[in-house]
Structures are given as structure tokens and as C-alpha cells.
């Protein structure tokens, strides 16, 4: 599926010599759907061999934004790797951050208090909403409808404002700390979250869905295009909305609940055919489910501390650093990297915007990991793209790529 047209025999002698069937005079052209991709998805190259309008085969090249995250991670102490995880799936960075923190907490055997877990759930679900909003609106842009994108970016700006209340940054958030969160949900943040999930987002998103769901042109371009069967999805290692659109209800939040997800009631939306329209619908349904989760979390937010009382790993509050000798010593040790992690090997997975985002960490007792490997969902399911576009046209290949929600930062890591 990723190989070029290899042996082509043009004469009978060649056919006998190479032991391949005789190829009639073919007029295959080569089209470079190249790295500077007009649909602003990220940079991958697809060299398509086309028979007129139909795609015969494709050769995929990735690695145009390989930044060697895994090698950098062997150099950085644990709390500095959070900034690297931000930049993997940059449309939903809090999920990556929290996943990394949970991996380290598993290694260090720290339990995080309930309030911090609920705050983490709220931030992760808002990140998931943001990721799906971008994906669905860019699918609209790719099929020619620009205004849905503008409506939805406005809601994304509101989510950015909530991130700014929590951690100070809009996109690459570096949110949370090992052992909890860095600050509590302020009253402004709670008000903004409630405004978002009760008033503005449901209305705007319903209007966005109305633009596309029964739109004749959108449906003609997406129904039946790029269908993935259940067996193919499992063989290729699909996870996340792409797998759920094919009909399998695998969700890491339900399979191995983490960070109090078992306290919340939500459904897992599942599609029928695994085509582009199903992927779009599954993502939209997941936005509604995430809104439900955020509502439940913000209504039932428990009281308590927002960080674990682990002086070895969580920076003590500033006023006690200035007044208490012990806190001063711990602050120094944590910042200067004199606290070592225990030896161990841990794998933790979270449900990212695109599927199972796994962190495989081997620690040898130093301040930096010995080996850190990110199980990136985009990298694994993008392999199937070559097979999905075979036989279609180029104008089908573009919505298929945008419906898969490949994010280059995560693919190349």
C-alpha cells in the first residue's frame, strides 16, 4: 500500500522475463500532493500515481517536521518534559500534559486529590472539544465552506481564555504539575466555563451542525468516501474517533479509567461505515458528550486541595518557602534537580483527541528518563491512508485526510 508501481512490462518479452502480466500502454501521471499542503493540516508528502482522475497508488513520506522529541526527553528532567508534550498534539495540549503527569505520578506512586482530578477532567474535555472543533471546521473548509470555521474559532477563543485563566498560555499550555495543578480554578474561570458549556457553545455548535449535517454538497462529498471496515481498522492500529466511526467502541476513558472518569456518565458515539461522514458525525457527537462531562464536573466539583502533599515532587507554596527551612530546602532540591526518580518501567495511556496516546517511560533512577517513547495515534493510523485513497479521486483524498485529523506535530514527534 505504500509502494510505487514497480515492475511494468511493456512488451511480451519483458512480461515473460519479469514474470509479470503485460501492462497495456498506460498513461499514468504522477502528482505530488506535496509538503506545502494547501489545507493547513501539517506537512506530509503523498506522491500519487494517477490514471486520469483516479488514484492508482501512493507513496507517503513523513518526517518533514521531525523534532526528535524522544531524544530531547532523555536530557530534560521530568517537569521540563511537559513543555515537549504540549507541542505534540498542539490542538489539544492539556490532554498531552495531563497524560504525562499521570505517567510520572504512576511511577512515583503519588495519588492526586479529587479536586485536582476533576479540574484535570474539565481541562482535558475542553481540550477535546477544541480539537474536534478545529477538525470539523477544517473539514468544512476543505470542501469549500468557510463560514463554519469562523463561527467555531470564536468558541475556540473562549476556550483559550479559560486556559489563560488556568495557566497563562493560549496554545502550548504546560498545564498542571506533577502531583496536581499549579493553581486552583479561580471564580472567573468557573464563570467562564459555565457560560461556555451552558450558554454559548451549545447554541453555536448546533448552528454549525445545521450548516453541514444535511447539506447536500457536504454529504455528497463525504458519504461513502474513504470507508474503513472494522477489521481493517483493528489491523492498522486505529484508535480514537476514527476507530469508533468504523463501529468499535474502544475508548481508553472507559477501558482503563483514569483521573476519576468513572464518576461521570457519558456515552461513546459509534458510527456504521467508517467513512468520512461518520468520522465527522462521531466527532460532533463527542463534542456533545464532552459538554455533558464538563457540566457534571463543574456542578460536582469537590472541595479540597488542588495538589498532592508530596514535598519531594511538588514545589511548596511560596510563603512557606520564605518562612520555613524545610520548604526552602525542598524547593532548592526540586528546582536544581537533585531529587531522583525511582527505577521503574511504566506505560500509561490517555484518550487523546485522536486516540490512545501512550507514554512508555523507563527510568533508571536519574533526574531525566532513560527512555521515553510516545505512542502517537496519528503516526499509527496514518499508515492506512494509502489504502483508503486507492481508487478514489484527488478531491476525495483531501476530505479523507482532513477527516482523519492528522496533526503533523504528533505524527513526526
Amino acid at each position: 500500500m505504500t509502494e510505487k508501481n514497480t515492475l511494468i512490462a511493456r512488451t511480451q518479452e519483458e512480461a515473460l522475463a519479469l514474470n509479470v502480466p503485460l501492462q497495456e500502454e498506460n498513461n499514468y501521471t504522477t502528482l505530488n500532493l506535496g509538503p506545502t499542503h494547501p489545507a493547513t493540516h501539517g506537512i506530509f508528502q503523498n506522491i500519487l500515481t494517477m490514471d486520469g482522475e483516479r488514484i492508482v497508488s501512493s507513496e507517503m513520506t513523513v518526517g518533514y517536521i521531525h523534532r526528535a522529541f524522544e531524544k530531547i526527553a532523555e536530557r530534560r528532567p521530568f517537569y521540563q518534559i511537559t513543555t515537549l508534550t504540549d507541542r505534540m498534539n498542539y490542538c489539544s495540549s492539556p490532554i498531552n500534559n495531563m497524560g504525562w503527569h499521570m505517567t510520572v505520578e504512576k511511577l512515583l506512586e503519588i495519588t492526586v486529590p479529587k479536586r485536582a482530578q476533576y479540574i484535570r477532567v474539565i481541562m482535558m474535555e475542553l481540550a477535546r472539544i477544541a480539537d474536534h472543533l478545529i477538525c470539523s471546521s477544517i473539514m468544512g473548509v476543505d470542501t469549500g465552506a468557510f463560514s463554519g470555521f469562523l463561527y467555531v474559532m470564536q468558541e475556540r477563543e473562549k476556550i483559550y481564555e479559560i486556559y489563560e485563566e488556568m495557566c497563562g498560555a493560549r496554545l502550548t499550555t504546560n498545564m498542571g504539575r506533577i502531583g496536581g495543578m499549579e493553581r486552583d480554578l479561580s471564580p472567573t474561570a468557573i464563570k467562564k466555563i459555565k457560560d461556555l458549556v451552558y450558554h454559548s457553545l451549545p447554541k453555536v455548535f448546533a448552528e454549525f451542525e445545521e450548516l453541514f449535517d444535511r447539506n447536500r454538497i457536504f454529504r455528497d462529498r463525504t458519504i461513502g468516501v474513504g470507508a474503513v471496515s472494522r477489521e481493517m481498522a483493528m489491523e492498522y492500529g486505529f484508535t480514537g474517533p476514527n476507530l469508533r466511526a468504523a463501529g468499535i467502541d474502544y475508548d481508553v476513558r472507559v477501558m482503563e479509567p483514569y483521573s476519576s472518569y468513572e464518576d461521570f456518565e457519558f456515552d461513546i458515539p459509534v458510527g456504521h461505515n467508517g467513512d468520512t461522514y461518520d468520522r465527522y458525525k462521531v466527532r460532533n457527537a463527542e463534542v456533545w458528550e464532552s459538554i455533558k462531562i464538563v457540566r457534571q464536573a463543574i456542578e460536582n466539583l469537590p472541595e479540597g486541595p488542588y495538589y498532592a502533599d508530596e514535598e519531594h515532587y511538588y514545589l511548596p507554596p511560596k510563603h512557606s518557602v520564605y518562612h520555613n527551612m524545610e520548604a526552602l530546602i525542598y524547593h532548592f532540591k526540586i528546582v536544581m534537580g537533585e531529587i531522583d526518580a525511582p527505577v521503574g518501567e511504566v506505560y500509561h495511556a490517555v484518550e487523546g483527541g485522536n486516540g490512545e496516546l501512550g507514554f512508555y517511560l523507563i527510568s533508571d533512577g536519574g533526574r531525566a528518563p532513560f527512555r521515553l517513547h510516545f505512542r502517537r495515534p496519528c503516526f499509527i493510523y496514518y499508515q492506512a491512508f494509502g489504502e483508503m485513497i486507492k481508487g478514489g479521486t484527488v478531491s476525495d483524498a483531501v476530505p479523507i485526510m482532513s477527516s482523519l485529523n492528522v496533526i503533523a506535530g504528533e505524527l513526526d514527534a
Binding site: 493547513t40 506537512i43 523534532r67 530531547i72 513543555t83 507541542r87 474559532m153 475556540r156
Partner: protein, 180 residues
């Protein structure tokens, strides 16, 4: 609406020098080529949105064709594998062209001081404006675009054919016969 350049006005006519007029026209209709590779690209998408509208600065039509755009906005990390592509896109642009390196990765490699990342796009193409940040806020990207507008407004019409510019291109091994 923009301010008219200084000139001599009368009933039914306005006289000013040609380069000022062309400067005003160019600076208010810079069509960008968003070369978005990673996170800064998402901040550009936010800049394109309705909140931080970029089209009010004249960048109404982001085109992905280098032949039809004026400003090359390189947003995101450029890996060494991608550097020849950036150079080829730059070569295909028609004069006058400006380059903005948006973000820390495009300016100097950013936090990725590794074997696979190009430490700044000014290793391969000449850059006019650097916008720092990781990622820069949309207001900062707009400020970068406004700097390009200042450059476009005050540029002499002979600059692109002059000795200094030619020497600059030669220092990057961009010779005239490579222009396609």
C-alpha cells in the same frame, strides 16, 4: 482607510511621487502565503478568525500559490528535511517578496536544538521580520505584519534590482538564473 501620502492636491487630481503611491498600495494589500508547519500555524488560524481579523490589514486572500503571494509567513519548526522545500517556495515567489519568520522555531530553532531541526530559516532564505514567541499571540503576528507594511511602504522602487539586494541573494546562493 489609510492616510494619503504627502502630495499636491487640487480639484479632481492628486499629485505625489510614484514610489509613495505604490508603497501605499503594496503595503495595504499584502497577500500572505501561510507556510504553516506546526503550532504557530494554529495561532495563525486564530489570527485569520473573526476575533483577530487579519483581512483588515489587507491580507484578505491567503494563497497557497507562491506565484500569487507577496509575503511568505513561515510559521512553525522547519526541519532539515523541509529546508529545500522552503527554499524552492521562496524561489518561486515573484518580486517584491517579503519573508516573516513567525515563532521561535522559525527564527532560531526554538526549543529544539537537535540534529534534525534547522536552527532558523535564515540559514536558507533571507528574512525581513522575525516575530518571537512560542507561539506568538495573534497580536504579535499582526504586529509582525504591520512591520512588513512599514517596509513595503518605504521601500524604494529600485531596491530589488540594486547591488545590495543582489549581494544579499548571492550570499544565500540564490542566483538570478534560479528564478523560475
Amino acid at each position: 482607510m489609510t492616510e494619503a501620502p504627502p502630495g499636491y492636491e487640487g480639484p479632481g487630481f492628486f499629485a505625489t511621487s510614484l514610489d509613495k503611491l505604490i508603497g501605499v498600495a503594496r503595503s495595504n494589500s499584502l497577500w500572505p502565503l501561510p507556510f504553516a508547519t506546526s503550532c504557530c500555524g494554529i495561532e495563525f488560524m486564530a489570527t485569520m478568525g473573526a476575533h483577530y481579523d487579519i483581512s483588515r490589514f489587507g491580507a484578505e486572500r491567503p494563497s497557497f500559490s507562491p506565484r500569487q503571494s507577496d509575503v511568505l509567513l513561515v510559521m512553525g519548526t522547519i526541519a532539515k528535511k523541509m529546508a529545500p522545500v522552503v527554499k524552492q517556495v521562496y524561489l518561486q515567489m515573484a518580486e517584491p517578496r517579503w519573508v516573516v519568520a513567525v515563532g521561535a522555531c522559525a527564527s532560531s530553532g526554538g526549543i529544539f536544538d537537535t540534529y534534525s531541526v534547522l536552527q532558523g530559516i535564515d540559514r536558507v532564505i533571507p528574512v525581513d521580520v522575525y516575530v518571537p514567541g512560542c507561539p506568538p499571540r495573534p497580536e504579535q503576528i499582526l504586529d509582525g505584519l504591520m512591520q512588513v507594511q512599514e517596509l513595503a511602504k518605504n521601500e524604494s522602487l529600485r531596491r530589488r534590482n540594486g547591488e545590495e539586494y543582489r549581494a544579499l541573494l548571492e550570499s544565500y546562493n540564490i542566483l538570478e538564473k534560479d528564478d523560475r
